[in-house]
Amino acid sequence: MVGVALGIAAIAATLAMAAGCVLPERARVVWVGILTAASATAGGVAGIAVLAGSARFTANYPDLLPLGGIRIEFDALSAIFTVAAALVAVPASIYGIGYGLHGPSSRPVQVAYPLLVWSLMMVPAAGNVTGLVVLWELMAISSLILVLAEHQHNPEARTAAQWYAVVTHLSLLAIVVALLILAHGAGGESFAAMRSGAGRLGPGVTSVVFLLALLGFGAKAGVVPVHVWLPRAHPEAPSHVSALMSGAMVKLGIYGVVRVGWDLLGGGPGWWGAVVLIVGLASAMFGILHALLASDLKRLLAYSTTENVGLIFIGIGAAGLFASTGNRPLAAVALAAALLHVINHAAFKGLLFLGAGSIHSATGTRDLDSLGGLARRMPVTAATFAVGALAIAALPPLNGFVSEWLLLQSLVHSLPSKAVAVAVAMPVAVAVVALVGGLVAATFVKAFGTAFLAMPRSVEAEQAHESPRTMQIGLVALAGMCVALALAPTVLAEPLRRATVAVAGLSSGRPIHTNGVYLQLSGIQAGLSPLLLATGLGVMMVVALAVVRRRRVHHTVRDIPAWGCGRTLQTARMEYTATSFAEPLQRVFDDVLHPEIDVDVDHRTESRHYIEAIRYRRQTRDAFEQRLYLPLLGVVRRAGDAARRVQNGSIHRYLTFSLITLIVVLIAAR
């Protein structure tokens, strides 16, 4: 069953690539969309089958490639990530049909897209080093091509792609080195061999492997301080690709950390968890603060991805800490929270990126400060974006709340514990998660409120119209997922148990119990029922509405101007913008963010006391980019300049180098 589904996924993806190659433009977009959606559906079915209890699927293709060939090992942990990828990929592919008909429809893009979707689903299924590296590289290259999709009329895309290419390949280097050390020590390059042989490695070596893997996979996940590519690359890709990158691709970084650290290596000392936890805390804070101040909608969403990955890292790190202190049931809860958030984030971030794409294609801008009033011009986009925004703000009764609740429960119930690290880390972690939660709410009130509500701030926003039907289908499907994931705890309990059990180094037992309506945790006296919460809210709203409308004594007066303190004119220029909305919080966090603020005041020629115009500009630079990467690039450039002196174009000199090299090699290989 699982094998058949994976096979269908591969065949459909191949057909989609072929369609992207040969078909004419319009048919190409449509068929690529349909076939990719089919491929993703098949992949998703395979994942769900494993999560629902089918046996894990293994296959071996030793002759497919030199070295070890390719092994497929598809267990419940892989399935979580494959399902997350499929969850975004199916709606994104359908969305891509409408999107591509008005935008990126060139051949390379249409070929790379199915390849990206397929490799995203298959990376977690890889069962050996060769397979993982090959699939990983397919994913990296296809996504790179897609980031460059709009480079002709968007110069930003080129710098973004440069950053992305460099970081992604350095990260691949770290991953390969880590896995090679591990494979060498364990005496085999299949995951099964590594799992059983990891014990032979010394503690120092395993820690080196873990840190290298954390660096490499962390870069893909976009955590601080190796996140710099993310807020550049994600906004520049076409929106359905951004959805895939944020919803699915960064998750594979998380997958890698869990797989290598706590499955293949079988877990390690407590400080592994602590490191992951600290990285998570830093990423969450850093990401949300930048998202808060961003006024470019897609950049905001990209930074928010860093924040969400941070939350997932907090869960994993906490699980690592708990497991090292022997509290494995609690570790299971924390891990379940992290894994659930992987799926939830795929749903709502995919939705939000698709929504941002709809806005972009309707108005031609991503700048929140020139949007507004779209709720009545694009009702479907507005309603679905609202669902996504409420979900990501972890508000009940949507899915973000369920995973945030699980995460908080696991953190809060860590005490009393004997370990000082836990005691010191957990209050800090709860405080950060809480602050982040509050700031996320503020950020997405800003995003939704300034983009969709009140009056349009530009002509483009005023003339916006709802996007084509296929794009709406994608949005509605993902919004439906956000609701469904929240209301069906029954469906989640068993798959999460299987996935957590697959990570042998962390957890055991059943993290979540459910009797269909309530969600209960093992070892923790706490319950939640999103379904009943939603019902309660609905009933109360209906009752309130009924009471208000009962007597019908009041009239509703519509289409009057808003109360503007009696002013003659009420224009969009008087509205709060995204920048002004974030201003109080920016002031609170001034010392952390150091935004650059320019205020230009033009005076009238007659007198200094009369002001013609005031311009306010705020820019927040990425501290890591400024302080870490640009100096580093400077060093590299200087080194390059120095190296250039060696290279003066003289063919004799080059031949001399060859000769010297040959002699050195001969001596060394003696």
Binding site: G373, P416, M426, L435, F452, L453, D559, A562, F581, L585
Partner: protein, 315 residues
């Protein structure tokens, strides 16, 4: 979800809604008396609500569906919380439906919708109120959750019923450093979240200093009635939480009518006492500058943080 439990929860919701406007009436009366005035009768907030229900509902041409459903969501979230929080009995049916975290996030849901509604009006003051409300809510959030953390460390659960039951079983914990610290922290947050002095002035008429009022400037008639009722309810819910989490005595542990009656009286007395304290303090205090509010909330966060540390290290 037992039948009696459901009945208790419903009773609680009905009683809270009935009592909430009276509480505001009491607070206004106390303030008036301290200012040398006679003050409005305590039924006045109810009269205001009744009148508002009969007034025209005005919907400006800028606004959309968010503006229309925000009052409903705000009221629904507050009512649901009123059903979850153990005012009358530890045996409320909604206890397993949501714990303290759910309560916090439900209240946040209301705030978020109100802020969106403020933005939807498209006026400068609406946006200003929303921005400020979200700022304060965001930086109050760590205090709330860390205080909950402190409470749940000593009781081993974040379920409201369990926390209350644990405090009932061990009365001495009510005066332990961690619960006093957590109480102080939550008290500050209560003041911030319910928009009382020194964070926000509920009686202000100056738009530039408003937070809550600025968001609702555009509402009229029945919509305004819903928002006002929700604001009253939130005040009761916060004060009720504060009193029953830390001083739960009097709460019913069964669902017998007589016990429930006693519990209702007990919780009413506790809430009125807290409200009176707030009203009296407000007479002596001025609103602080908006950008001093983070300092106040930072202090409350520190209290909550110390509460966790104490509960962990002193226990």
């Amino acid at each position: 979800m037992s039948l009696t439990g459901t009945a208790v929860a419903l009773l609680q919701v009905v009683l809270t809604i009935a009592a909430a406007p009276f509480l505001v009436g009491v607070m206004r009366l106390i303030r008036a008396r301290l200012e040398g005035r006679v003050g409005p009768p305590i039924v006045q907030p109810w009269r205001d609500l009744r009148k508002l229900l009969g007034k025209d509902r005005m919907v400006s041409d800028n606004t959309g569906w968010v503006f229309s459903i925000a009052p409903l969501v705000l009221l629904a979230s507050a009512t649901l919380v009123a059903g979850i929080v153990p005012f009358l009995s530890t045996k409320s049916a909604l206890d397993q439906v949501g714990d303290l975290f759910a309560v916090v996030y439900l209240l946040l849901l209301g705030t978020v919708f109100l802020s969106l509604a403020g933005l939807d009006a498209g006026t400068a003051f609406g946006g200003m109120g929303s921005s400020r409300a979200m700022t304060i809510t965001a930086i109050a959030e760590p205090t709330v959750l860390v205080a909950i953390f402190a409470l749940s460390v000593s009781t081993g659960s974040s379920n409201l019923g369990s926390i209350v039951a644990a405090t009932l079983a061990h009365p001495a914990t009510a005066a332990s450093p961690e619960s006093l610290l957590a109480f102080a922290a939550l008290a500050v947050v209560t003041i911030a979240e319910t928009g009382r002095i020194p964070v926000d002035n509920p009686n202000t008429h100056l738009e530039l200093t408003m937070i809550h009022e600025a968001m609702v400037l555009e509402y009229s008639g029945p919509d305004l009635a819903l928002i006002e009722l929700a604001a009253h309810l939130r005040l009761v819910v916060f004060l009720g939480l504060l009193s029953n989490l830390f001083v739960p005595w009097g709460i019913a542990t069964t669902a017998q009518p007589l016990q429930l009656l006693g519990a209702a009286v007990a919780v009413a007395v506790k809430i009125v006492v807290l409200a009176a304290v707030i009203a009296i303090v407000e007479v002596f205090m001025a609103k602080v500058r908006l950008f001093r509010v983070p300092e106040l909330l930072a202090a409350s966060f520190v209290l909550a943080f110390l509460a966790v540390t104490a509960s962990f290290f002193l226990a």
